[in-house]
């Protein structure tokens, strides 16, 4: 019965959206999805998805959730090169379209959350950074993301909107690397996501700035057509889209889509 429901949910919803049919399968412990679920997710989702994955494992005996957290573009490359995965959650639409463009996605992706940029500074803000304009100060040690990765592309947009020419010392390969440099106190400021500031705890302070509102990063996710474990994939997507999942995302600094 549960299996039938799950199959119906899969057929009806695909990647399309939150369906309450499959959500009902999530309640029954010891039945439904089992085996291994592989989720490829953007680095910024590390904490929330790890928690949600543990929750899903707790709900279903015999289910193991494994994650591959990395920059969305690296994940998209791995997927187009045939890496086996059940779910892909990207930090922007561009990298999702790399995957949908090669017919690897099962149906259309769903935007499940969004994120804005924020300035991260070491605790106490030793350099007295107040806004985006400080990124033009040559005497500061500054980190941004490389333009090749989503947070870097978003950064270029906010700098353009603010009319600031940034003078970074390093263009980091992903947003967590930029944050690490703030945590180590090696840079005075880095442009990261609001969620990264929330995740970093006491060692990092966040400074919001008005231009961030103009560049909201949408996060789409989808199940993959070649998913080895489509049932578990569906359950995970439903958990992310459920009220519970959305609350967890909000607690981590994400915004409703």
């Amino acid at each position: 019965m549960v299996a039938v429901l799950a199959v119906v949910a899969l057929g009806a919803a695909g990647c399309g959206g939150g369906d309450d049919a499959a959500a009902s399968t999530a309640g029954a412990s010891g039945s439904g999805p089992s085996g291994t679920l592989t989720v490829f997710a953007a680095a910024s989702l590390t904490d929330v998805f790890t928690d949600l994955g543990q929750q899903l494992e707790g709900d279903h005996d015999g289910l193991t959730v494994q994650f591959n957290f990395a920059g969305s573009s690296a994940l998209a490359t791995q997927l187009t090169q045939g890496a086996p995965a059940d779910v892909f959650a990207s930090a922007n639409g561009t990298q999702m379209s790399v995957v949908t463009g090669t017919d690897l996605a099962d149906g259309d992706p769903t935007v499940f959350t969004s994120n804005v940029l924020r300035i991260a500074v070491p605790a106490g803000n030793p350099a007295g950074v107040t806004g985006l304009a400080d990124f033009a100060r040559d005497e500061l040690a500054l980190a941004v993301c490389a333009p090749e990765v989503p947070c870097g592309a978003a950064g270029e947009d906010v700098f353009a909107a603010a009319g600031v020419t940034p003078r970074p010392d390093t263009q980091e390969e992903d947003v967590r690397a930029a944050l690490t440099k703030v945590e180590l106190g090696e840079v005075d400021a880095a442009l990261v996501y609001a969620t990264d500031v929330a995740a970093a705890g006491d060692r990092v302070e966040g400074i919001s700035f008005p231009e961030a509102e103009g560049v909201v990063n949408d996060y789409p996710l989808c199940t993959l057509a070649a998913a080895p474990n489509p049932e578990a994939a569906r359950a995970f997507v439903d958990l992310v889209l459920s009220e519970e999942g959305q609350q967890a995302l909000e607690d981590a600094g994400f915004r409703a889509p």
Partner: protein, 264 residues
């Protein structure tokens, strides 16, 4: 050396090893977008990254030779106690994930680091995110290759030559310069090549400790990694460039330098 026919039991594994090592390179060549080669190669930043890679790898090798050859001598010849521990310690960078090495360098040489904070206070110099940091990161990762090679050469060298030199009145420094060093020259050359190649390909410690900025710290491996994020075709071309330049350099050196050494 007498050339022998390869024993049959060695033939199959040797052939498998060749296939295993060469096939990925063949894959690169096959997938190279030859028609776009010109545009991709002249893209801004490629020459810059290549130049930076060659300069920093060469400097890292130079530093490794100056510091690593004496260290190899200590490991191979000195009678100091604790050499086994010392050897294990200096080869740590071989097993340490390079990214961890990069973080470790931060903790020592970063502006909040043990030595780095003192340096920043007294001289105003900060090392991270500079070309110096690239050379330091590469040296940290690559020097053990040279030390191990040279130590091996020193152990294999016949100490009777050195004894003879000493008997004839040469002091220890002269013996080292005039006898030991020429004796192990092929080992130093081979170690330098290994060290240079490792430094040229270094990624993890560099991107962590030196960051990534075109012109100052973006070496070819970093450029390849970032190109892969946006344009895999460009990444393949960049890898190919790095490959061709490194192989060409090694062949050239082999003729001029290693060839003589190996014949000796």
């Amino acid at each position: 050396m007498r050339r022998a026919r390869t024993p049959a039991p060695l033939l199959v594994p040797a052939a498998l090893a060749v296939v295993f090592l060469v096939l990925p390179l063949a894959g690169l060549l096959i997938r190279t977008p030859w028609s776009q080669l010109g545009t991709l190669l002249t893209a801004p930043g490629v020459g810059q990254a290549l130049r930076l890679s060659l300069v920093s790898a060469t400097l890292a090798t130079a530093v490794s030779v100056v510091l690593g050859v004496p260290l190899a001598w200590v490991l191979a010849r000195s009678r100091a106690r604790g050499r086994a521990v010392l050897r294990a310690l200096v080869t740590v960078p071989l097993v340490l994930p390079p990214v961890v090495g990069g973080v470790a360098l931060f903790l020592v040489l970063g502006r909040q680091g043990i030595v780095g904070s003192w340096l920043a206070e007294t001289t105003g110099i900060t090392i991270p995110f500079t070309t110096t940091a690239v050379v330091i990161a590469e040296t940290f990762v690559a020097m053990p290759f040279l030390v191990i090679s040279v130590e091996g050469a020193l152990r294999a060298a016949d100490v009777r030559y050195e004894d003879a030199a000493a008997t004839l009145g040469a002091d220890r420094w002269t013996t080292f310069r005039r006898v030991t060093l020429p004796l192990v020259a092929p080992g130093v050359a081979a170690g330098s090549v290994l060290c240079w190649a490792r430094a040229l390909g270094e990624f993890g410690a560099t991107i962590t400790f030196a960051g990534n900025f075109p012109g100052t710290t973006q070496t070819m491996p970093l450029a390849v990694y970032l190109a892969l994020q946006r344009d895999p075709q460009a990444a393949i071309v960049l890898s190919l460039v790095l490959l061709v330049v490194s192989v060409a350099t090694l062949l050239l050196l082999r003729d001029r330098w290693l060839g003589r050494g190996a014949a000796a």
